[in-house]
Structures are given as structure tokens and as C-alpha cells.
């Protein structure tokens, strides 16, 4: 109950400031430009597939959008002092963390589902070909749980500092590194345990399965575990104020 109240407030507060509008508009605009123009784009590829779209979304989400959304969650409240007001109300610390997580994740999901305009308009309204809807659905499923993990990472980092800027950069860099594994570092050129390890933590290779239309329980468990661990970490960081 308290969790939902906090989540609701958090979600609304994005719409009270320009953040939500800017993030959603700019993301959709950039996504459109990239999708239709970069490397020849959608029409050059000449296939009724959105895999090109899903190739860009996780990177943009993880490295820019989610850090922007999560950077203020706890850091800003600590800096401005509103956290004390919130925590001294009859709420438990884990409700605060969960509420904030749900609020921020809610905004990311809103953005994510706004991108569904692409398949709906392209293949529903303008009929640009017959879309194989299976991979699109699994890709969205993958992005949903991927964004949960990314938001919880951002929330955890935000709860460690009082500075939004630091929270933003740390989250962005961490997400970038996690994406780097598997794109810039070519996994196939490596061998043995290192290859195994890198492809294990790589967000890209995890998401690649979903985009190809495979739902792999291991991937789901991977992202869910990251989410749970980071939420616990954020909870611990919030509790820490009592003792230090």
C-alpha cells in the first residue's frame, strides 16, 4: 500500500517536471532517425523485421535514458532533505526502495511501450509487409526485464551518493561497460573461460536471444537476480544512514 503510494508519487513527479516529456520525445525522435537512416536503415535492409530497432533500443535505454531517470531517485532526496521527511512517516525502508523502483520502472515501461507505435503503425496501419510478431513480443519481454535490472542498478547507485551527476555518470559508465562486452569486444575472438565469463555478464548477448525470438529461462533468471541484488543493495544503502 505504502509502496504503491510512493511509486505513484514518484511516477507523477516525472510528469510534473520536463524530464518525462523530454526523455520520451527525444528518444522516439532519435530512434526514428537511427532506425530509418543509419547504415541505409530499414528500407535498405528490405525485411519485415524490427531486429534493427531492437539492436539500438537497449543501448540507448541503458546508457542514456535509464541513468537520467534513476539518477535523482535517492540522491536528490538525500541532498535536499526530503528523504528525512519521507522516512519519518510510518513507512518501512524497503517500501521506500520498492516504491521508487516501481515509479521509475513505470516511466521506462511507458517509454518502451511508446516505441510499440513503430510496429503498430508500420505493419498495422501502413502494411509494410507481414511481420513475424513472435520475435517482437519476446523482444519486448526481454526489454521489460532488462529495464528492471537497469533501473535497479541506477537506483542502487543513486542511493550511494548525494550527487545526481555522480549517480548519472556511474550508472551510464557501468551500463556502457556491461554493453561493451559483446559489441566492441568481439566475444568470438576470445577463448575459454574468459569468453564464457564475458558472455555471461554481457547484457547484449542476453538480449540477443530475446530479439531472435527465444525466451531463455537463464536470461530471465539473470536479469531478475540483478534486479533483486541491486534492490537489496539500495535497501542496505538506505539503512546505512542509521549507523554511520
Amino acid at each position: 500500500m505504502a509502496t504503491l503510494t510512493i511509486a505513484k508519487r514518484e511516477f507523477k513527479s516525472y510528469w510534473n517536471s520536463p524530464i518525462a516529456y523530454v526523455v520520451i520525445c527525444v528518444s522516439l525522435l532519435l530512434l526514428g532517425l537511427v532506425f530509418f537512416n543509419l547504415n541505409g536503415g530499414f528500407f535498405e535492409a528490405n525485411r519485415a523485421s524490427l531486429s534493427l530497432l531492437f539492436g539500438y533500443v537497449p543501448m540507448a535505454l541503458g546508457v542514456v535514458v535509464i541513468p537520467v531517470i534513476t539518477m535523482r531517485l535517492v540522491a536528490e532526496e538525500k541532498r535536499s532533505g526530503t528523504l528525512e521527511m519521507l522516512i519519518t512517516l510510518p513507512v518501512k525502508d524497503h517500501q521506500v526502495i520498492l516504491g521508487k523502483f516501481l515509479g521509475a520502472w513505470g516511466l521506462v515501461l511507458t517509454l518502451l511501450f511508446a516505441t510499440a507505435l513503430y510496429p503498430l503503425m508500420m505493419f498495422g496501419v501502413w502494411d509494410l509487409g507481414s511481420l513475424d510478431s513472435g520475435p517482437v513480443l519476446t523482444a519486448y519481454l526481454g526489454l521489460v526485464i532488462f529495464s528492471a535490472a537497469a533501473v535497479s542498478i541506477g537506483l542502487f547507485i543513486s542511493s550511494l551518493t548525494e550527487s545526481q551527476i555522480i549517480a548519472f555518470f556511474m550508472t551510464a559508465v557501468l551500463m556502457f561497460v556491461l554493453h561493451l562486452f559483446g559489441t566492441i569486444i568481439k566475444i568470438n575472438e576470445l577463448s575459454g573461460g574468459l569468453k564464457e565469463a564475458i558472455s555471461f555478464v554481457s547484457f547484449n548477448s542476453r538480449l540477443a536471444d530475446f530479439i531472435r525470438g527465444m525466451v531463455n529461462l537463464r536470461d530471465i533468471v539473470f536479469f531478475t537476480t540483478i534486479t533483486a541484488v541491486c534492490l537489496l543493495g539500495a535497501f542496505w544503502a538506505l539503512e546505512r544512514r542509521k549507523w554511520t
Binding site: M1, M85, R241
Partner: protein, 397 residues
């Protein structure tokens, strides 16, 4: 209602609270006084379960702050220092948010809002965003959210800081009004507010309770009285029994000061600023004597024109100054090393405390090292001061 026993809070080697014990009974309005950094906010944060004490216990409304934080928070209304609220929210929206978290249903909320709007004077700002409000109104909204669930206990941390004098007076009035039927603990370093609103004062200095009692008791603790005397600067008694302006005979400030200081029983004389018609002085004497007659006859004897004289029991401010002396911003809280050097009678306890923390008794050798490291920690723990280690060192020696 509130019962604190030996509350201690350490930040590393820095001791923000040192065995603070006090009790607040139902219906009392208590002023929690102390200079900045004395431990007022820390105490309040422990009472509201925002922080945990390193040692000691506290009970609020019968609930232990450590074991039942939610029950404690339900029974108190808390206004933190500077009352930070979500600026982007509207006043009504924010109060509704707080009400939801306090599980007040919407009917009860509407009814309660009527009372709150009246008591806190929020009628004109309900629709406004919080960040557009003045400090005074923000403070009122903060009071409003603290009163929303009609709590038996109200804890207000510096409710009047950052306010202009009119707003301060208003807030003090609200507190008086609110304090009629509930327990209020209010922290401040503004003494006139305590005198205006509270029946009892607890003075805390460097993490310790140094005075606790009714305002008059606390005021009497200094055991001093003050005399405020002003003497005409130009006119003196001339032959014929009239007072005339006479520049050659007119009393000089230094002369008067020396003469007043010469009276038996005067402990100190301080000149206070005044306009250029009179010299004004504040004298201190002991409570057991009354020096007014002596002061008057001195003036008569010298031919000075006494314009006014007032004997008053020492102000709370003076007691406060005496009790918290040396508590400047550079030395917030105390380090363990400070304790040992300052008060002999705490020596034994401090030794124990140190041993508890794993510092053993072979001190002489590593004393300096530890002092240095503690100075560092001191600087780290105090957040808004320009810590001067040399000052600390000087004090230790």
C-alpha cells in the same frame, strides 16, 4: 510520553551525543536548546527513528524506537529542520500524499484538512506548488503535515530558522496553540521563542544535557542578576541643584565604567551601544544582593544624571551562554581526547569507553597519533564548519 535513557551517538571517534537522558510528560511543551551542532537534531532523529543510537534506549508513547519504529512514527508528527518537501507538488497534493502514507481515509482527510487549514493558515496556498511558497508558508505546510493525523506528540526541529521576525512570531503562536492539548518537543537556538512558547527547557551542549527544568529554574541556574543602567552623557549636576549640559564636567564612558565597577558586589560591567545622549551599561551581580541603592547613591555623589536602572534575573540567553561556553562551531561535539583533557571526573568512564573500542591502555606513545586522527574525523563529521585543527590543539594543551 518520551523517555530517553543514556542516548549515545558516535560517528567514528566523534561523539555527537553522550548519555543524554530526559523525560517529557504528557502535555508538556519542552524547548530543546543548544548551539548549532550540540546534538539537538541528532536526538530528534533518534526519537523519530531516522537514526539509530549507538547506545542507550528511548521510548516514545510507550514504544521502543529501536524495536517498533513504525508505531513510534505513527504516534508522532515530525517537522525536520528546514522542512524540505517535494517542491514540484502542490500543497494539497502533498498533504494528500502524507495522508495516504499515514493511512487516513479520504473522508477523515477532508474533515481534518478543514482544521489544519484553519490552525496553520493554509487557506490561500492549497493549490500552489510548494516550491513557489515563502519560507514561512513552507513551514506552515510542514506543520500541517505533522498535525495531519492528530498525533499526541509533536517533534519540531528548529521550526523557526530561516524565518523573518513576523513569521517567527506566527509560528510561535501556532506552536502555543497546538501545544495546548499535546506534547511538544521543539528544538531551537533562539531563546526568546523558548521563553514565549515553552514551560520547560532542556539545554544541551556538546552532546550532553547541561540543564533541564522549568524556564525559571533554568534561568536561576546562573545565580546572577543583571542591572541595566543608563546615565546622561551631557548633563551633570551644577551648583544650584539643576542639571545642565556641561562639556567639561560631563561623565566619560570610561569614568562611569570604572566607578560602577568599583561598587562592592559588582562582578562585571559591560558598556552597551546607545545613542549619543546616554551611556548604557550592563552590570552583573549575585542574586543574593541588591545593588540598586549603591548605584543610585554613586550617581548622586558624582552628580551624574541617572536616566534609568533596571534589575532583572539573568536572561535565559546568559544562562545559555554560560552553560554552552566554548561550544563554537569549530569544536562541534567532542572527541574522546577532548573529554579526557577537559573534565577530570569523566576520566574513568572515558578510559572504559576507549577500552571498549579496542584502544588499549598503552597510551602515552600513540597519544599524538590518535589525537591527529581524531582531529581528522572531527572535521569529517562536522558538516558545515571550517574546522581549525590548531584551535583544537591549543585547547588540549
Amino acid at each position: 510520553m518520551i523517555e530517553a535513557r543514556d542516548l549515545t551517538k558516535r560517528y567514528g571517534a566523534f561523539r555527537a551525543l553522550d548519555k543524554v537522558s530526559f523525560e517529557v510528560k504528557r502535555g508538556e511543551v519542552v524547548g530543546f536548546l543548544g548551539p548549532n551542532g550540540a546534538g539537538k537534531s541528532t536526538t530528534m532523529r533518534i526519537l523519530t527513528c531516522y537514526l539509530s543510537a549507538s547506545a542507550g534506549t528511548a521510548k516514545v508513547h510507550g514504544h521502543d524506537v529501536f524495536d517498533e519504529p513504525l508505531a513510534v512514527r505513527e504516534s508522532i508528527g515530525y517537522l525536520p529542520q528546514r522542512a524540505q518537501m517535494y517542491g514540484e507538488m502542490g500543497v494539497l497534493e502533498y498533504l494528500r500524499f502524507v495522508a495516504e502514507l499515514r493511512k487516513i481515509d479520504s473522508n477523515a482527510f477532508k474533515k481534518r484538512m478543514g482544521e489544519i487549514v484553519e490552525v496553520c493558515g493554509l487557506g490561500n496556498v492549497l493549490g500552489k506548488d510548494i516550491h513557489t511558497l515563502s519560507h514561512g508558508f513552507r513551514q506552515r505546510v510542514g506543520l500541517g503535515q505533522a498535525l495531519l493525523h492528530n498525533p499526541p506528540i509533536l517533534i519540531l526541529d528548529e521550526p523557526t530558522s530561516d524565518l523573518d521576525p513576523n513569521e517567527k512570531a506566527e509560528v510561535v503562536d501556532y506552536i502555543k496553540e497546538i501545544g495546548k492539548d499535546r506534547t511538544v518537543v521543539l528544538s531551537t537556538h533562539n531563546l526568546s521563542e523558548v521563553e514565549a512558547a515553552c514551560a520547560r527547557a532542556i539545554i544541551i551542549s556538546r552532546g550532553r544535557v547541561v540543564a533541564d527544568g522549568g524556564i525559571d529554574d533554568v534561568r536561576a541556574r546562573g545565580g546572577r542578576v543583571r542591572y541595566v543602567v543608563s546615565i546622561d552623557e551631557k548633563r551633570v549636576l551644577e551648583s544650584g541643584g539643576t542639571y545642565r549640559e556641561n562639556s567639561s564636567m560631563a561623565p566619560k564612558a570610561g569614568q562611569v565604567e570604572d566607578a560602577l565597577g568599583g561598587i562592592d558586589g559588582v562582578l562585571s560591567v559591560v558598556e552597551t551601544p546607545s545613542d549619543d545622549t546616554a551611556h548604557s551599561f550592563v552590570l552583573k551581580g549575585t542574586r543574593s544582593t541588591d545593588l540598586r541603592a549603591e548605584i543610585y547613591s554613586l550617581c548622586v555623589q558624582k552628580g551624574w544624571l541617572l536616566l534609568s536602572m533596571n534589575r532583572e534575573v539573568q536572561r535565559l540567553e546568559d544562562v545559555f551562554k554560560t552553560l554552552t561556553r566554548g561550544d563554537d562551531a569549530g569544536a562541534r561535539g567532542r572527541t574522546l581526547a577532548d573529554d579526557v583533557d577537559e573534565d577530570e571526573d569523566f576520566d574513568d568512564e572515558e578510559e572504559e569507553a576507549r577500552e571498549d573500542e579496542g584502544d588499549d591502555a598503552e597510551e602515552e606513545d600513540d597519544d599524538d597519533d590518535r589525537d591527529a586522527s581524531e582531529d581528522d574525523e572531527d572535521g569529517g563529521a562536522s558538516d558545515d564548519d571550517d574546522d581549525d585543527p590548531s584551535e583544537d590543539d591549543g585547547k588540549k594543551k
